[in-house]
Amino acid sequence: MRVTLKKYLKVYKIFGSNVLSSLFASSLDFLLLLIGKLVIFYILMFWVNSMFRHVSDLNGYSRDQVIVFFAVSFLMDKLIQVFFYRGFQLLPGWINEGDFDRLLLLPANSLFLSAFRITDWNDILVMIPILFVLVSKLFTVGGFSLLSMPIFLMFVFLGLSVAFCFFTIVSSLAFRFIKIEAIMRIYRDFMYLAKFPPEVFSLGWTVLLTSVVPIFIIVSLPAKAVLGLLTWPWVCTGFGSLAMLFVVAIKAWKWGLHGYSSVGS
């Protein structure tokens, strides 16, 4: 077990350094991406502040609480992108062009190689202002205590695990369908909306975004945890979703691999 973990950590380190060296090769591209990501963060923060010029609260949530939701949503989005989103995003292309064959020939788990092949270093830098906003707001907003911190970290990990299972399921479709970009884009759209507390949306919508596309589990649970607003039904839903998605993700990946015909190569 320890040897396996060591081996995968080594492989991950190699993947990470490869991406980093390719980024240095196209530094202008890297810089523009970084600027774009910082701009979108600050514009959306500006938007929230502008919105609260017109309303005093959003379904009972104060301006600072909504900003915490925004910051946590950005943080989760960036963590997902840093670790595995890019790998899953590029997987359909590798499958279509037959490059996936090479991954299958390597003596490591194909899901690990697919997901963790690309570390988005750019997003690590974007996380700095996000963390700054989050920490500064946590001291002004009510409900935060030091006890909230380990619970917050636990739900961040739960959110990342749920996201990983979700992307595994979606990516499995790439073995059977030529184009699945639209599903990935649906996730991106939902990520914009999950910046708001789930109570803003109708019950049916909350159920959809919790069970079918688990965006609220990924984003809202850590945000509610850090604000001290977590209730037992939400906690049970979070762990229940993870257990269910974990089983479905393993089955979906196996189903996908069985359907891989290596035609692109």
Binding site: D29, L33, F46, V55, F177, A182
Partner: protein, 267 residues
């Protein structure tokens, strides 16, 4: 006549390309439906206690959601990704060898996709209206409606020339990921796709009037609502045409410079 015959074929190809990947196409429609629902519930919660916000009432805001979805489906047809990839992979060589223009080729391909997307947008909107029973503001003034349609055509041209220019940067930057992302980010946020630009403070709206992003979505829609004075409508037309001209000149300049440095490595 020959010009139209050639590009009509490309329009048809664009059309067929959309229908080839039916699942992806259906997912795209589902995507716009989901976005409409989400924005509708978000704004419904904002308007629960307020009658009028940032110049919109509940009827106008639900209409705004519908119109922005239709306009975005029609106007936001990204060809720059294909263009940048074709430069990086050397696939653009086959286009360069043919007696056709790269710009018109990509525009025609986009038109084919846009026609089919516009058609299905109406189905998506009908579904949205049936489920939510959201009110819809119908503009009775034919002048304003004609202005809106004309501005939409100009918006499509502006979008096409802007995104093609960004795609051409792949001559210098491999696949131009950075510029494409930057452009898409600015466009999606500052065009008013998710919210009316009047949500921002007045000084920021004034700044946005000098940038091209709002002219591809928000400003044409504000004309539809009758929110703009005749003078403002005139300046919307003027600024849009000015941006199209500026971006067209930039496009030609970048294409000329780009072809000089193009090494056709990928081919």
């Amino acid at each position: 006549m020959h010009f139209f015959r050639v590009y009509l074929k490309v329009i048809k190809l664009g059309w067929e390309r959309v229908l080839l990947f039916r699942m992806n196409f259906l997912m795209e429609q589902l995507r716009s439906l989901i976005l409409m629902f989400s924005l509708y519930y978000l704004y419904a919660s904002l308007f629960r206690t307020q009658g009028n916000l940032f110049g919109f009432d509940s009827v106008k805001i639900s209409t705004y959601i519908i119109l922005s979805s239709i306009v975005a489906n029609f106007v936001f047809n990204y060809q720059m990704h294909a263009l940048a990839d074709s430069i990086a992979d050397g696939k653009i060589n086959s286009l360069l060898l043919k007696p056709i223009s790269i710009f018109w080729y990509h525009l025609a391909r986009g038109v084919g996709e846009r026609i089919i997307e516009l058609g299905t947008s109406f189905v998506t909107v009908a579904l949205f209206l049936i489920i939510t029973r959201a009110p819809f503001f119908l503009q009775h003034s034919p002048t304003l409606f004609v202005c809106f349609v004309l501005l939409l055509m100009l918006a499509t041209a502006l979008f096409a020339v802007m995104e093609s220019t960004v795609g051409l940067l792949a001559f210098w930057l491999l696949r131009a990921h950075g510029p494409r992302f930057l452009f898409q980010t600015f466009l999606e946020v500052l065009s008013g796709k998710f919210f009316p630009l009047t949500i921002f403070p007045a000084f920021f709206v004034q700044i946005l009037k000098f940038l091209p992003f709002g002219y591809v979505l928000y400003f044409p829609i504000s004309v539809y609502f009758g929110l703009a004075t005749p003078k403002e409508i005139g300046s919307t037309f003027g600024i849009t045409i000015l941006w199209i001209s500026t971006m067209s000149l930039l496009y030609v300049y970048i294409l000329k410079r780009g072809l000089k440095v193009y090494g056709a490595y990928g081919s």
